[in-house]
């Protein structure tokens, strides 16, 4: 079983390599290979998850490692769909390495088993994780869009033309891509936090655990909420909004990794 996961990671590494090579060496022919390799990797990854799930008789969500694994699969899926619709090769350069880093980190995580005993609890927990992963995947795209925006804006402001083999999308495109994914990601994140709270209140007799992990999620949620509100009220956008989005996403990922500071 672990073999499938290893195969998947291997293909992700190849895909990331292609994306970087296409960027750095200006080899346009490599550009299509990144999503193709990533697709093969994703198929292996999904096969791995399916096998694990069949063994467990349910969703393979035993610990944070599994959650992260699921998140990475979702992120790759988001990348592939975005690539298919928008043909933005540059996305691969951002999303693929981050996914690899997450996978690497997940190997270092302790076997912190998520406490799930009763069936109702299990259902709620599964739903919570499902929504969390979806939301994080959407916000992954927002993160990528923000990074691209900053890169493009840097080039425009510093009057240095982008000397890359891959074409960077226009500022407006980055902005709309980020905004759209944020519109999906934020409600999902809200739902995640709410279901998490419900679970905690009902099954842990505490409404909110003020430990590091939960605070991070709340922090991410608040930052994103501020960004959305500011944009609606004052049309707030641009460089500062991009920085905030990146901070929020990092906080969220830290939360999902289960980092306890």
């Amino acid at each position: 079983m672990l073999l499938l996961l290893r195969i998947a990671v291997g293909f992700y590494v190849l895909a990331a390599g292609c994306a970087f090579a296409a960027l750095a060496l200006n080899l346009r022919r490599l550009v299509l290979w990144a999503p193709i390799l990533a697709t093969v990797g994703l198929l292996a990854h999904v096969a791995h998850l399916t096998v694990e799930g069949t063994h467990l008789g349910g969703l393979p969500l035993r610990d944070y490692r599994d959650v992260l694994s699921l998140l990475c699969a979702a992120a790759i899926l988001v990348y592939l769909v975005s690539f298919a619709r928008m043909r933005l090769e540059v996305l691969g350069v951002i999303i693929l390495p981050v996914v690899l880093i997450l996978i690497f980190i997940s190997n270092l995580l302790p076997n912190d088993v998520l406490p799930v005993s009763r069936d109702l609890e299990k259902v709620l927990m599964n739903f919570h994780i499902f929504v969390a992963v979806l939301g994080a995947a959407a916000l992954f795209l927002t993160f990528a869009a923000s990074v691209l925006y900053l890169v493009q804006e840097y080039h425009l402001k510093e009057k240095r033309p982008a000397r890359f083999g891959l074409k960077l999308p226009s500022l407006e495109r980055c902005d709309s891509m980020g905004n759209l994914s944020l519109m999906w990601g934020f409600p999902l994140l809200t739902l995640t936090i709410v279901t998490g709270g419900i679970w905690s209140a009902n099954f842990r007799s505490r409404y909110w655990l003020w430990e590091g992990k939960e605070t991070f999620a709340l922090l991410a949620w608040m930052i994103l909420g501020i960004i959305i509100t500011a944009r609606l009220l004052r049309g707030y956008r641009g460089r500062k909004a991009a920085y905030l989005t990146i901070i929020a996403f990092t906080a969220l990922i830290l939360r999902m990794i289960g980092v306890v500071l």
Partner: protein
Amino acid sequence: MSIILFGLNHRTAPLEVRERLTFPAATLEESLVRLTGLEPVREGLILSTCNRTELLAHTRNGFGDTAEVMRSFLASERGFPPEDLDRYCYRMTDREAIHHLFRVAASLDSMVLGEAQILGQVKDAYQAALKAKSIGTVLDPLLRKALGVAKKIRTETGIARHPVSISYAAVTLARTIFEDLSGRKILLIGAGKMSELASRHLVERGIGSVLVANRSLPRAVELAQKFGGEAVQFDRILEHLEQVDIVISSTAAPYPIIKYEDVVRLIRARRNRPIFFIDIAVPRDIEPRVNTIDNVFLYDLDDLMGVVASSRAEREGAARVAEEIVRKEAEAFHALVRALDLSPVIVGVRQRLDTIRAGEMERFRSRLSGLTDEQQRAVEEMTGSLLNKILHHPIRALKESVHHKDGTDRVRFFREVFGIHEPPAGGDEPAGSAPGTPGRGENDDPDRS
């Protein structure tokens, strides 16, 4: 069979000459019909732009007299003395012509390397020729190949990506900021050749509307009319800045007319919608500090020239790659055309069989001497007619192989079957190649005693 190109371009002829030799689009089809009506011309194409006029023809004859025919055609069509044409025109044939056509379509021969217009112009010329039915089995695939190679070069090399003039640079930058130029508004402050040119390029790219401001209102109105836009009052510029997305400024004012504080207030009023300032005035019209404001982008003349300079290097690098691609594709196409060039094969076969016939007639002359003159002629005619009828089907099959995907293999097999040599590589055979060396067939002739 030859492909001949005859014409002139911006390198060989000045504008005053070129403009006399352009073919108006409205009468292009008639001209094409007249071109193909001329005797040696089987297919023809006319490419006429402000920077070149080129006639392309596929002809049965040799190179020399068809070029003359094309020269007189051009002279008579445009009312230009033919002797004078020689000073400005060039003529190319076969491999050179194919190579030139591919280069032109890929914008490698243009004044601005990598320009986008030429591809559309070649397409229009092709369409006109299709409508006039002036192109067929040779020029049609040639044109389609040229267009395909040009498209490939535009997407695979960076040649079209980097602007090489200030106005192109401005447009490219605008598209890096705004995804879609349609529906955007631009404001022209002041007047000048460069700002007009930049606006024109933006309008060509589909910009929504143009506002013009000038200290002199009549001048503003005049300029606005050129773009189908509106003139606005100079002192109310700041108000209008709220609605426009791109500002091109080139006044003669000795001090900045748009200040930092103005823009800070402006971007808030715009609710942070990005705005692009192009300041090509010297001294500058817009305080440079404005560039530090979030969502505001300011490029002055030096910045634009910097973009052009680095672009030129990129474009030239891309051009080298493009030239290589064009060279390879032209070679390949030329080889294909030659391989499918059937007339030398057909002529070769006939000549070969004729030689055999003449030889046999000679051999049997003594045995036929008993016949009357009439009967001897009849025998000659019969042998000739026999050979023709025998050849009829093979030659028809040969002609059809042009349309086959294994066409070149079939032609090669045909040559083998009849023992006709391939023409030497590197040269273009004149119409009528010599038949091949005696093949095995002759030595195995069962009638030989």
